[in-house]
């Protein structure tokens, strides 16, 4: 670089630098695009990072193996720790899966659930280095530490009664791959396992880290090596981290298609606007370019100067955009960070580097076209005309529109304007189009999500639930076993005794405002042939009424017949995919010795990581006679009755032995995702608005003389406003009208991708969300964007001094 370039930059500055508005627009557009992309990519990159972070920190187990110690000898176990490829081993730790009663201090009653106990003398180790969250590690025989992701409440002082032993919870801890629900000292294990006695029939847990563990086939090979080292039949269960990792990510996976769509729109629209801004600056700087070239500047220097002049605001915008994107990502990441307790999660560093670099590259690429045009421009033409050679386009449009004598002249003058610069008009149209597409898509997405999360869920149709008061909290009748996407052992709500049920029925019958109710029985079972990636199959039986009252949407088929004699079931999409069945097929549910063949009556919309089955109470007890029966009453209230008020009244009637809950309809998930969608839509819309602002500002500048003439001839400020507004309004209107089908198409492409990522099909009303009045309103989105963008420059035009404009000849 020599002194010459600096001179060029200063000299060419008249083309852009002095045009502060254009500089600001480039800066803001780049800022918004960078912020949107940083946010989008930051959240996407984060899909795995909380898990990976915690996994790395804890030296998480790649593979956990449960071995039957009555089959495998201690020597064989020791041999199994030395299989090839192993980099670290922990264990064997004694393991027992036992039914336990839990009492929480200060809460009446007790709950029973099955817990996996593992004996560990210390939390640390070469594998599965458990993080202690509260309290301390078990120091005596009657003490236990519980997993924060398990089903025991994370409250110190809680009592776990198992095998006649009372254990006090003295600490809470977290194992990233959920290796246990509770940890005790090794000496305590014989007392827990099998109620004492039967020495040698226990189980042991081995935790492995392997050199090659990145793929599921590598993991399968590793597990194969372990199995080979142990006697046949001794391996009772294996769990690998990939499965857990997969289930962790699927909480975010459904959002990926929508975030990608929004991010791509943001980038496209920004590039278009940069093309228009730089193109406009070149046109505005024509005379100057001509003068510069006539006094000896080379085309290369002119091109370089323009690129540099775009570069400065773009770099500033990109830096500010990264900061904004990072800041906005904080609350979204915080939610996940809290879940994993891995401390502050940020947008990954590489995103902060890659996004601004990519946006800047895109910006310079967009600027290159018009800059090259500036370099090629003939100086003679520029100097001779004293202004940009005005394209002789749009004359015909002006003439044709001039004939429309019924339309006010300022309107027809405005409508003729876009034809004068078709290239710029087209780019503006596409920019507004993308903005309006984002609006149409965003609105549809919000409606779809609202349907999924509130309208077609049991929680909104049966908002009040009654169950027995339990320290474990109410059962989880419809949501499946995974809470917050964590794999854990399903909590089966304790069954209600006949007298309790009678009390509930009486109270509900007496209470005004009751519409109807269903009894809810739940169960979780492991079924052969159904994947257990995220826990066992969730069974729900709605009784005492029409299961359709649950509000759960049917994707196809119908609800199971309520008659106790009919063996029918409705299942979620994951169940169908796992078992390879379809609606109408028969499927034999084999639960140990109990095998029941049911006809699959319908497919229900229950996106989940676990397979779900809905059937009648009679069928459920046939499948699992040990199931605890009706655990919950789910009540629908009459229109106008507030669920919370109803619940309070019912609580008063039934007393403290019952847990009565009113669902609040807004889950944090939908709030977060709607906020994100709104944010991205707003960013895109403001970029589109800035694009319009640029176009109109250029037009007002280029046509300053025309506007001066109009005003000298008697155009009022209001007419000037009309003229300028109409010039871009027609483009905006056209863009908005095209945008509606485009936005709907995008919605119809992205929503199915989202639900498929959530392991589900979808009922039609999740997709068909656009009603005619909405479509009509959305068609005006383009116009609204155009008018908003045009407002400022149009009022400059309206307020400009006529005498000044006329002097500029």
């Amino acid at each position: 670089m020599n002194g010459g370039l600096g001179a060029v930059v200063r000299a060419a500055g008249g083309g852009l630098g002095s045009r502060r508005l254009q500089t600001v627009i480039i800066g803001l557009v780049v800022l918004a695009a960078t912020a949107a992309s940083t946010l989008a990519l930051g959240l996407l990159a984060d899909v795995h990072s909380p898990f990976d972070h915690a996994f790395a920190q804890q030296n998480g187990a790649h593979v956990a193996v449960t071995v039957d110690t009555s089959v495998a000898s201690p020597a064989q176990l020791a041999a199994a720790t030395r299989v090839s490829g192993v980099t670290a081993v922990a264990g064997p730790f004694a393991l027992a899966s036992e039914s336990a009663a839990i009492t929480v201090p200060g809460t009446p009653g007790s709950g029973t659930t099955r817990l996996t106990f593992v004996a560990r003398s210390v939390p640390s180790g070469p594998v599965d280095d458990i993080t202690l969250r509260q309290g301390h590690w078990a120091a005596a025989g009657n003490q236990a530490v519980v997993s924060v992701t398990g089903s025991v409440p994370s409250q110190l002082g809680t009592t776990i009664t198992v095998g006649g032993q009372a254990l006090t919870v003295v600490g809470t801890a977290d194992s990233v791959t959920n290796t246990a629900d509770a940890w005790v000292l090794p000496a305590e294990m014989p007392a827990i396992a099998g109620g004492g006695g039967q020495a040698g029939t226990g189980q042991a847990q081995l935790l492995y880290r392997f050199a090659s563990s990145a793929t599921s086939s590598a993991i399968a090979a590793d597990i194969g090596a372990i199995r080979a080292a142990l006697p046949p039949g001794s391996v009772q269960a294996t769990a690998d981290y990939l499965t857990v990792r997969q289930s962790e990510q699927s909480g975010v996976a459904p959002w990926v298609p929508f975030i990608v769509a929004m991010g791509v729109i943001a980038l496209v629209i920004s590039s278009l606007i940069v093309v228009n801004v730089v193109g406009g600056a070149v046109v505005a700087g024509t005379t100057r370019i001509g003068v510069l070239k006539s006094i000896g500047f080379t085309p290369g220097q002119v091109i370089g100067a323009y690129l540099l002049l775009v570069g400065v605001p773009a770099v500033i915008g990109a830096l500010a955009g990264v900061i904004c994107g990072d800041l906005v990502a904080v609350p979204f990441n915080q939610e996940t960070a809290q879940l994993y307790q891995v401390g502050a999660l940020g947008v990954p560093f590489w995103v902060d580097l890659a996004v601004p670099a990519a946006v800047l590259a895109l910006t310079l690429a967009a600027a290159a076209g018009p800059a090259l045009r500036a370099g090629q421009m003939s100086p003679a033409v520029a100097i001779a005309t004293g202004r940009a050679p005005r394209p002789k386009r749009g004359f015909a449009a002006q003439r044709a529109l001039g004939r429309l004598t019924r339309v006010p002249r300022p309107v027809t003058l405005g409508f003729a304007s876009p034809a004068a610069r078709p290239g710029r008009t087209l780019i503006t149209l596409v920019a507004v189009l993308f903005g309006a597409v984002a609006v149409t898509f965003g609105v549809g997405l919000a409606i779809s999500l609202n349907r999924v999360f509130t309208e077609i869920s049991a929680a909104s149709h049966l908002p009040v639930t009654v169950s027995e008061h339990s320290p474990l909290g109410p059962g989880n009748p419809s949501g499946g076993a995974s809470q917050k996407g964590k794999v854990s052992i399903g909590v089966v709500a304790g069954g209600l005794a006949a007298a309790q049920q009678q009390a509930i029925i009486t109270a509900v019958g007496k209470q005004p405002g009751t519409l109807h109710y269903l009894t809810v029985s739940t169960d979780s079972l492991s079924l052969p042939g159904v994947s257990e990636a995220a826990g066992p199959v969730q069974f729900t039986a709605y009784g005492h009424g029409d299961p359709g009252w649950s509000g759960i949407a049917l994707i196809s088929g119908r609800w199971y017949a309520s008659s106790p004699a009919v063996r029918e079931a409705d299942v979620n999409t994951l169940f169908l995919t796992d078992t390879g069945t379809s609606v109408g097929d028969s499927f034999t549910i084999a639960n140990g010795r109990h095998a029941v063949t049911v006809r699959i009556a319908g497919e229900v919309f229950v996106p989940s990581n676990s397979a779900a089955v809905y059937t009648s109470p009679a069928t459920l007890s046939a499948v699992d006679p040990a199931a605890s029966g009706v655990g919950q009453y789910a009540i629908a209230v009459q229109p106008g009755v507030k669920p919370q008020a109803y619940a309070n009244q019912l609580q008063a009637a039934l007393g403290g032995n019952y847990e009565i809950r009113a669902s609040n309809k807004t889950t944090t998930e939908i709030v977060a995702i709607t906020t994100l969608a709104t944010l991205l839509t707003l960013l895109i819309v403001s970029v589109a608005g800035l694009g319009v602002l640029n176009t109109v500002a250029l037009q007002v500048r280029e046509r300053a003389r025309d506007i001066g003439i109009f005003k000298a001839l008697g155009m009022t400020p209001r007419q000037a406003l009309t003229f300028v507004t109409c010039s871009v309004g027609i483009t905006g209107l056209a863009a908005g009208i095209i945008a509606v089908p485009a936005g709907i198409a995008l919605h119809h492409g992205v929503i199915p991708a989202m639900v498929h990522a959530a392991n589900s099909g979808y009922p039609p009303n999740v997709i068909s969300v656009y009603s005619l009045p909405e479509i009509a309103a959305l068609a005006l989105a383009g116009l609204a964007i155009a008018l908003a963008g045009a407002l400022a420059p149009a009022s400059w035009a309206a307020g400009s001094r006529t005498a000044t404009a006329l002097r500029t000849e």
């Binding site: 003439r399 003439i709 000298a712 006529t802 006329l806």
Partner: protein, 240 residues
Amino acid sequence: MDTLVQLEKVTKRYDSSGPDSAGAPAVDNVSTRIGHGEAVAIMGPSGSGKSTLLNLIAGLDRPTSGAVHVGDERVDKLSEAGAARFRRRQVGMIFQFFNLLDDMTVIDNILLPAQLAGRSRQARRRADELLDTLRIGHRRDAYPARLSGGERQRVAIARALINDPGLLVADEPTGAVDSATGDEIGRLLLELNAAGQTLIVVTHSPELARRYARRVIHIADGQIASDTLAGHGAPDGARP
């Protein structure tokens, strides 16, 4: 003769004046009257304030102090919209560089002020009349770029007259054309004045002023230096 234009102690100071002109107003305490049907030439050196004065009369600009009356209107007190409406009805304007709109045909240029005033239908016949009077009927559908300087200025005059304004103001209407064409434009303006059109013309050409204006106002440094009726001494309006 009753008064059409009345200026009372009109001063215009540009707040954005460069450092050289700091303090000196462009128009300095000017008072005068112009009657209906007069043809007035305003002359003076470059930068003396002629255009500024004309803009003040046409309501294109507002005086710093003083009052501008045109017909019944107090022009200096009008809002922007009011001034625009005033210009539409009362003032036809002609400029040195014609200020035609390149992307509109001759007829569309001429009709524009009428269309802005919302009276395009009535204006069609008037436009045809003007095309005839100004001898540019054959150029009706041409674009300004294809016209000669004289033709362009005739289109501008037709456009200025489309709404039958009481006052026609022209800022150096012959400044951009050769002398023969200038003569022709001068003759046209004289014809219009003979038919009763009040006329204020800023010109650098003493020839034009002498031949076609009955009254000549000389401006220097924003002030009226002299105000003479051709061969008759000072007019009524110039007396205090």
